[in-house]
């Protein structure tokens, strides 16, 4: 009987093994179980630096004004300039804003637009002689500007009328010493460009700011001064402040904007192309998202005998990013530059050079 049971078992085993060999050729050997060690993941805290604002000695003692452009659908909030404005205020600069309805030429150069009064007054002049008296009457409702209403008819007729009221008004409304344009979305008219050029030629300072994260038409005005804000952003995969688009910059050309700077952090900065206008340069490991040729990438440029400063990043000027490394010092330097007059020697030298040429 045992023999028969053994035979049955052998039969069972043969079939089972046969089936097993039919389906299987071996066994799975699992890979060693490895889980990521999250202990190694570490992000260093932001390199914040305490800052004390040492105001430059070169600052003019005269009353100075800075005009900030809000007339070109500028893509920023005024609050974003709080840090810079505070620095300007601490340097006794007055801050004014250019609104859409303001006349740029009047605000920037202290001169009235010449064409507008003529355009307004031409039709009545053609229709009826008495209408000559009407334009001033139309302007009367603007009670605040009564004196100017009186001025305009006289301005049309004879220049002496311009000389009568200015004694009081010009003291109140001196043209600004610096003009700040941040991310303008509307184009500047040819007339506006001419006015800004004239302003800079007369010794005014122009600060142009754009940011790669914001739509702007900044090149419309920056090209007047040979500056191109490139449609890119700069990044560094090797060394950065938490994110590849937050780049460290420590290569500076010595001048009043870069004094006392060792290292700054720019937060999503773009590059600016100019003819040797760059004053701040990214390192070898920093690349442009657009420009592939290796050239010195510069997010900050200073041109026109140091009268036009272009900055392709706004974020580093805002809280809390201004507190990183020497960013506050850079903002203070920009404020010093805006608050100090153009060096007359330089102007004279330039004039002499031009004469020689």
């Amino acid at each position: 009987m045992i023999k028969r049971i053994v035979i049955v078992l052998i039969g069972i085993i043969v079939v089972v093994l046969g089936r097993g060999f039919f389906f299987y050729s071996g066994f799975y050997t699992p890979l060693p179980s490895e889980r990521t060690s999250y202990e190694d993941i570490f992000v260093p805290p932001a390199p914040l630096v305490e800052f004390s604002d040492n105001i430059s000695d070169n600052i003019s003692e005269e009353e100075r004004t800075v005009l900030i452009d809000l007339a070109h659908d500028n893509n920023f909030d005024v609050e974003e300039l709080n840090v810079l404005m505070l620095r300007l205020i601490s340097r006794d600069l007055s801050i004014k804003f250019l609104d859409a309805e303001d006349d740029l030429k009047k605000e920037l150069l202290g001169e009235e637009e010449e064409e507008e009064p003529l355009v307004e007054k031409e039709p009545p002049a053609e229709e009826e002689p008495p209408a000559e008296e009407e334009p001033p009457a139309e302007e009367e409702p603007s009670a605040e500007e009564e004196p100017s209403a009186e001025e305009e008819p006289s301005a049309e007729e004879e220049p002496p009328a311009e000389e009568e009221p200015p004694a009081e008004e010009e003291e109140e409304e001196l043209p600004p010493d610096a003009f700040i344009i941040v991310s303008p979305q509307l184009e500047f008219s040819d007339k506006d460009k001419k006015t800004i050029n004239e302003f800079v030629d007369n010794g005014g300072k122009l600060l142009l700011i754009a940011d790669p994260t914001r739509q702007s038409n900044i090149n419309n005005i920056s090209l007047e001064f040979g500056l191109i804000f490139e449609p890119d952003y700069l990044y560094n995969m090797k060394e950065n402040e938490i994110n590849y688009r937050n780049i460290f910059v420590s290569d500076f050309e010595e001048n009043e904007i870069t004094k006392n700077l060792e290292k700054i952090v720019l937060y999503v900065a773009g590059s600016i192309s100019s003819d040797e206008g760059g004053i701040v340069f990214a390192d070898q490991n920093t690349f442009s998202s657009v420009i592939e040729s290796r050239k010195r990438l510069s997010p900050i440029a200073l041109v026109e005998e140091a009268k036009v400063l272009a900055v392709h990043d706004l974020t580093f000027m805002t809280e809390p990013y201004n507190g990183t490394l020497d960013n506050n010092q850079l903002i203070a330097n920009i404020a010093d530059w805006l608050a100090s007059p153009v060096e007359e020697e330089d102007e004279e030298e330039v004039g002499e050079e031009e004469e020689k040429e």
Binding site: R4, I5, I7, V8, L9, I10, G11, I12, I13, V14, V15, V16, G18, R19, G20, F21, F22, F23, Y24, S25, G26, F27, Y28, P30, L31, S33, E34, R35, T36, S37, Y38, D40, I41, F42, V43, A46, M237, K238, I242, N243, Y244, P320
Partner: protein, 282 residues
């Protein structure tokens, strides 16, 4: 003619004869082997579309668990065609695949794309196949940064970050941690096969299948059939069937563009959420 008595004698002799017991053993062995050694199968599990919702991630996890628990499933093929999804959802699937891999071989077959979170899931498998023109990589994450809190006198909160979760700066810092975690996962799982440095991986570039093979992001160029064969080979199978798992619910639609990103932002509201997701920004 046989009489009834002689028939009984013959049957009695047959039932005690050796051939009868051999046949009995074979029959019992056949029945027993069907129970003990069922026909082995390779299961294919789809990981497709953006994996944004927890419910969708759970459905994939349930399939993985079923494959792990099933006796006749001996190997798994992940058919990945995904741009990724929410970071937590992706990590859940990744960890479930790792757990499954401890018991059964998992082979990935990449279709059109295994970008970002799609690739995060793929690296958990034993072996990765892709087609020559598959899009692979996009290793990294993004976050919709918290907006500044809009104060409302009618809403009270108990802390400065109650309504926003964290500051924008902290959110960026956490994003960096998420990036480091993702890169660490890829480096760990690909090991010596990987030919890209951390810096190159962090570029978040999408590579073609043929490039990915050169960079060690995948193991071989091949199709779903190759992946099934490989899974069977790793499982030690000579003959097998193929079982296709399918979603109970329809997989989410594929396209992720900036309009969908706006929808993502609106979903997450003020609370920042991290994504291992590839999308085409405009």
């Amino acid at each position: 003619m046989f009489s009834l008595g002689s028939t009984k004698r013959l049957l009695r002799r047959w039932f005690i004869s050796i051939p009868f017991f051999v046949l009995l053993g074979l029959i019992l062995g056949g029945l027993f082997s069907i129970l003990v050694i069922p026909r082995p199968n390779i299961a294919t599990i789809p990981v497709s579309g953006p994996i944004l919702s927890q419910a969708y991630a759970d459905e994939i996890s349930n399939m993985l668990q079923h494959a792990r628990d099933s006796n006749n499933i001996k190997g798994i093929v992940l058919r990945i065609d995904s741009p990724g999804g929410g970071a937590s959802a992706i990590e859940q699937i990744y960890l479930d695949v790792l757990r499954l891999r401890q018991q059964k071989p998992v082979v990935t077959s990449i279709g059109t794309m295994a970008a970002s979170g799609g690739y995060h899931v793929a690296v958990a498998s034993n072996f990765i196949y892709a087609e020559p023109a598959s899009q692979i990589g996009g290793i990294g994450a993004f976050i919709s940064l918290p907006q500044p809190e809009e104060l409302d006198e009618n809403i009270g909160t108990t802390g400065p970050f109650k309504a926003t979760g964290k500051s924008r700066r902290k959110a960026i810092s956490h994003l960096e941690m998420v990036r480091q975690g993702f890169v660490a996962v890829v480096r760990l799982q690909r090991g010596d096969r990987l030919k890209l440095s951390e810096e190159e991986l962090s570029q978040a570039e999408l590579h073609m299948g043929v490039e990915s093979l050169r960079f060690g992001l995948i193991d071989e160029i091949g199709t779903r059939s190759d992946a099934i064969e490989k899974a069977a080979n790793l499982a030690g199978l000579r003959n097998y069937g193929v079982v296709e798992f399918q979603f109970k619910t329809r997989a989410p639609s594929w396209s992720i563009d900036s309009s969908d990103l706006e929808a993502l932002k609106s979903q997450t509201g003020l609370i920042p959420k991290y994504y291992y997701l590839y999308f085409e920004s405009r």
